[in-house]
């Protein structure tokens, strides 16, 4: 009998307590209740991110309000444009001015006509795979960042959408050759890019760029500047790839907040890399006589090698890759 009574008793108590519970769990009219429409608070005070439970399978929609989107909008609309704009136009202006003052850095004593093999087929394949994919991704990324501002007024909405969509796909797909090239570059050249004592001398004189006599500090296969570019490309490229791949797989690893941060990192690192590569392209083309040959034909002029990489040149002499007579040996550099 008691067994049957107990649940009934519990139910009775619960029913008695219900109004009290009701008052505790739900808002009820009280002394602070508004008495006229003017007193009703229509706008809530914003209280940051709000999320709750949702009964549909898409759990990420449980976020009711995410105010962080506002900061991301500020970055995308203002800061990214300032940062990327400054990091592209700044180096171009500085290098243009430098070119007007210093001009092309000539080979001392001119070209000898004798050549030393510098970069083999594999080296150049790795370099150009990375370079072409980087340039395409930089260009398509800039189209997506600045296109609305600069291109829509010129070509109109439908044409720009075609361009932007193509840019988006190219930006995504060229990441694959970029990463492959980056890995090859790392494996092929990391050995010669370990920092050493001679780099300090090179850095102190900025590679002899300011010396009137055109003296260059001694350097091995890569000088300190090139080592700087190597490590910046390795770490910057790795950061770009990581953030980029994570952005390509929304919600695989991070949610909205994470993607906002990833996009900021991707944009800032990309702008820095573009600035670096502008300098790299300058010194490899119009900035220095004979430099392009290294990545173009793969062989450099002997006098260029003596100027810029004397220690490397001497090593090549000892290894028989180059000889005093200057005849090019018919085997690969490495």
């Amino acid at each position: 009998m008691t067994k049957l009574l107990r649940p009934l008793l519990v139910l009775f108590v619960l029913l008695l307590a219900a109004p009290a519970v009701q008052a505790q769990f739900y808002q009820t009219p009280g002394p602070t209740s508004p008495t006229s429409k003017d007193e009703v608070q229509l706008y809530q005070t914003p209280d940051g991110k709000l999320s709750g439970r949702i009964s549909i399978p898409d759990a990420k929609l449980g976020v009711l309000v995410q105010p962080e989107g506002r900061e991301w909008r500020e970055f995308r609309m203002v800061w990214l444009k300032i940062i990327a704009g400054a990091l592209i136009l700044g180096p171009i202006a500085a290098l243009g001015l430098f070119y007007l003052i210093r001009g092309t850095i000539r080979i001392q004593g001119g070209r000898s006509g004798r050549q030393v093999p510098r970069f083999g087929g594999m080296d150049r394949f790795a370099h150009w795979t990375t370079a072409v994919s980087f340039l395409l991704m930089a260009l398509t990324g800039l189209i997506l960042t600045f296109g609305r501002m600069l291109l829509i007024p010129l070509i109109g909405h439908p044409n720009f959408t075609m361009l932007a969509e193509a840019s988006k796909y190219m930006h995504n797909f060229f990441s694959v050759p970029f990463v492959l090239g980056l890995l090859m570059i790392f494996v092929l050249w990391v050995r010669d890019n370990i920092p050493e004592k001679a780099d300090l001398v090179w850095l102190k004189t900025l590679g002899g760029v300011l010396s009137k006599s055109g003296e260059h500090p001694e350097a091995g296969r890569f000088n300190a500047g090139q080592k700087g570019v190597f490590w910046a490309v390795v770490f910057g490229g790795f950061a770009l790839s990581l953030t980029g791949f994570l952005l390509m797989m929304p919600f695989a690893v991070t949610g909205i907040g994470g993607m906002q941060i990833l996009h900021v990192a991707h944009g800032v690192v990309a702008a820095l890399m573009i600035a670096l590569i502008i300098g790299h392209i300058y010194i490899g083309t119009i900035g220095m006589e004979g430099a392009f040959d290294a990545m173009g034909s793969g062989v450099v002029d002997e006098n260029w090698a003596k100027d810029h990489h004397r220690r490397w040149y001497e090593e090549q002499l000892r290894n028989g890759q180059a000889d005093p007579d200057g005849r090019l040996r018919h085997h690969a550099a490495e």
């Binding site: 505790q24 769990f25 808002q27 009820t28 009219p29 009280g30 209740s33 508004p34 008495t35 006229s36 429409k37 007193e39 009703v40 608070q41 229509l42 706008y43 809530q44 914003p46 709000l50 999320s51 709750g52 439970r53 949702i54 009964s55 898409d58 929609l61 449980g62 009711l64 309000v65 995410q66 105010p67 989107g69 506002r70 991301w72 909008r73 995308r76 609309m77 997506l144 960042t145 296109g147 609305r148 829509i152 909405h157 439908p158 720009f160 959408t161 932007a164 969509e165 988006k168 796909y169 930006h171 995504n172 797909f173 390509m248 797989m249 929304p250 919600f251 909205i256 906002q260 996009h263």
Partner: protein
């Protein structure tokens, strides 16, 4: 001219999800896309409230600001719409939207998310009103037929209301005065007041997208 808004009275929402279902049915929304959803805050603890949330059709919409292809426009009624012909599915609007309104038909396909889809306030898109193309891309255009959004029209407790913002505010205030409590119009601060930068993208301004 009316300024169309949604207002969800959290004290009335019973989390029946009928607005979600009605929306899906009315617009033939594919599986995986939710233009509207009901979120329960403080689930199972004192102060629990459910709120039906979709695109709030902000005064200064972040989605429209960050869109790289400028595919958004705002109708004279203040409804924020977009052109699926211009959208490239980049996902930027989803990063910027405070309410998680933009949806994509594919989650991951090496960056291909498909064209963005979101609540249209039952107002279709840039195509001719109630044309087949409009229906296939954006769903029904009830506004053009003189009807309000279905989610709000069939809400059994009248928690979710859609229509002119001033009228909705008046109804809501009257309710609060009568019953003596209310937690405010959810999302209104974010959508219409806090980040409102004046008339940058205000109602009545001729949209650029979809032209």
């Amino acid at each position: 001219m009316a300024r169309m808004k949604f207002l969800c009275d959290a004290e009335r929402c019973i989390e029946c999800n009928a607005c979600v279902t009605a929306c899906k049915n009315e617009h033939d929304i594919p599986w995986g896309i939710n233009r509207r959803r009901v979120i329960t805050l403080k689930d199972g603890v004192p102060g629990e409230r459910s709120i039906s949330m979709a695109c709030m059709h902000c005064n200064d919409p972040p989605c429209a600001a960050v869109c790289p292809v400028d595919c958004f426009y705002q109708t004279a009624d203040g409804v924020v719409l977009h052109s699926k012909d211009l959208c490239i599915g980049c996902g930027y609007c989803f990063y910027a939207c405070p309410f998680g309104a933009p949806q994509y038909p594919q989650a991951t396909n090496f960056g291909g998310r498909g064209k963005m889809d979101k609540c249209t306030f039952c107002a279709g898109g840039p195509e001719p009103d109630n044309s087949l193309e409009e229906y296939q891309k954006y769903g029904a255009n009830r506004l053009a037929e003189g009807k309000l959004p279905l989610c709000a029209e069939m809400c059994s407790t009248r928690a979710l209301m859609a229509g002119d913002g001033d009228v909705l505010a008046d109804i809501y205030k009257e309710r609060v005065v009568r019953r003596g409590y209310g937690s405010g119009a959810w999302g209104w601060t974010t959508a219409y007041r806090e980040n409102d930068r004046g008339n940058a993208f205000g109602p009545g301004r001729e949209g650029t997208g979809g032209s």
